[in-house]
Symmetry: C2
Subunit: 320 residues, 2 copies
């Protein structure tokens, strides 16, 4: 029987950071499965080198080079390029079964039991729970399925402009056909659950196995102070601080040293605070209006007045 693998996708160096942390988290919880990362052409050589250390297979994907079917499809619907990239995972036919995980997910438990499930198993999306969230799903690589997916994609497009719309359109009986294809929400626990139904998060959130950092702000969008073990930035309710801290502890402790070795003398911004304090001068005080303007421009004072700590305290207070 062919092997089984976890598969993720990194289209640039930011998502590569996510993939590195995800891979490390899978390794730390002693997965017995292979790890595969699909990368886009924009991922740097340094990131690729470290991905090679953590992943068993690093595969460059570029839909325009992926064969006639995809090429043809792309010509008709160039808007769906990113979507096609993710569908590429179905071409990994040297594996009998795979679990796809977005690069903005983090494993906080061994989840090898997911391979007991069949295609297409996924957890509900909180936004419209008759749709599954395509951040974590079980699938069977198959060129036939890949071809059908591309065909569906070019004929019907995606109702949300992304892979989730295509996959929900294609696997349209997910909501009604087979309960075993409904992964428990703790296998794809998105942060939205925290602020839309806090009591349920308090009741069930401690059992989380996979955390999904949905939304615009990703873990790598923040900065981190390894000494204080604290994250700074406009955290709000977008992710639970303790999971964000887990992500950063793994990234700063295990991934950054590997990246630093690859970058050597070349400039490299890790997002850890030591770098920042070396390169930046002490900020002058600013007015409330100026601060608001900077915040809205994405220039929050992560290390000073816009500290993560007070936001974390506020969120944690909810959970006690």
């Amino acid at each position: 029987m062919a092997e089984q693998a976890f598969v993720t996708l990194a289209t640039n160096d930011s998502y590569a950071r996510g993939a590195l942390v995800l891979g490390k988290s899978l390794r730390n919880y002693k997965t017995s499965k292979k790890l595969v990362v699909l990368i886009g052409p924009h991922v740097s050589d340094q990131s690729r080198a470290v991905l090679h250390k953590i992943y068993d297979e690093v595969r460059l994907v570029d839909v325009l080079d992926s064969g006639d079917t995809a090429h043809l499809a792309m010509m008709k619907r160039p808007d769906l390029g990113v979507t096609f990239t993710k569908l590429h995972c179905w071409t990994l036919t040297h594996y009998s079964k795979c679990v796809f995980m977005d690069a903005d997910t983090l494993v906080v438990s061994n989840i090898d039991e997911l391979f007991d499930r069949e295609e297409l198993s996924a957890a509900p999306d909180p936004g419209w729970p008759d749709c599954f969230n395509s951040g974590v799903f079980v699938f069977r690589p198959s060129i036939e399925t890949y071809g059908k997916l591309l065909q569906y994609c070019t004929e019907h497009g995606s109702f949300d402009g992304g892979d989730q719309g295509v996959l929900n359109g294609f696997f349209s009986d997910w909501a009604t056909a087979d309960i075993t294809k409904h992964l428990p929400f703790i296998y794809n626990m998105s942060s939205i659950a925290i602020y839309t139904y806090l009591p349920a998060f308090k009741q069930y959130g401690a059992n989380a196995k996979v955390v999904h950092f949905l939304g615009q702000m990703k873990p790598w969008s923040y900065t981190y102070n390894p000494t204080q073990r604290s994250v700074r930035g406009d955290v709000q309710a977008s992710s639970h601080p303790s999971f964000l801290l887990q992500w950063w502890a793994l990234f700063s402790g295990e991934v950054v040293p590997m990246l630093l070795r690859e970058y050597g003398d070349q400039p490299f911004y890790s997002g850890c605070e030591e770098d920042v304090s070396e390169s930046e001068q002490v900020q002058p005080l600013m007015s409330s209006a100026e601060r608001k303007q900077r915040w809205e421009q994405g220039q929050a004072d992560y290390m000073g007045i816009d500290s993560f700590d007070s936001i974390q305290k506020k969120l944690d207070a909810f959970l006690k």
Copy 2:
């Protein structure tokens, strides 16, 4: 075989308005089932009289009077009074099967097919989709189940302080056991779906069969201009305007006249604009800050500057 019934609950006159509209909407879509409303002691005589015209059965519930088991349970957990009131629907044993619907739901299609489902069937809650939303559910009245529910309730309480927490705790295999007990989301479409996953709402929302006005602002919290057929107030994304308009068209057109007949010479505030303009003088112009303050105090200028129309236009623009 005993009959089947839709069941709702009105603990005060505001929710009685919801129950009246819900009952009317079920009748308008020609349900073949009986209609039952459980009412609390605070519902006025006038509301009761109109409920009697629309519902087949109006049953006063007061958990303290509902027998030894409930009484005993209430003594231990007085905090769960409202929760007990809803569980009371299991005592309607003269019906073989029932569908419970919250008074803040509106039927926009015949839904008698729900009676093909078994206990406990319900739609996922968007906040934590492994929980069902207890605003719409299929159940089998049974004194035995009622007793077990009360026992569960007193022993375990409710993780969210309401009936949804109790029912999800009691019917805890809903997420994993039987896909036929997952009602499609269109049978309990809460407004949260509109702003958390707009593309899915655009794709599937037109098939809605039951709209659930979740959140603090209920349809009866707004005012309505029957001439312009427009709702005024701080609508935001809390409910889709077209469904809110449907609610008000039904309430002002079919329910208010019945209520007015019962109130006769006594004062009665329908929420329709004619009443307001008779009793209120023309508002003086106010500053932006003053307007903001009034808005935040819940005193929006529903008929003037804070008109519903612009908000409606904005929301409708999303859906085109």
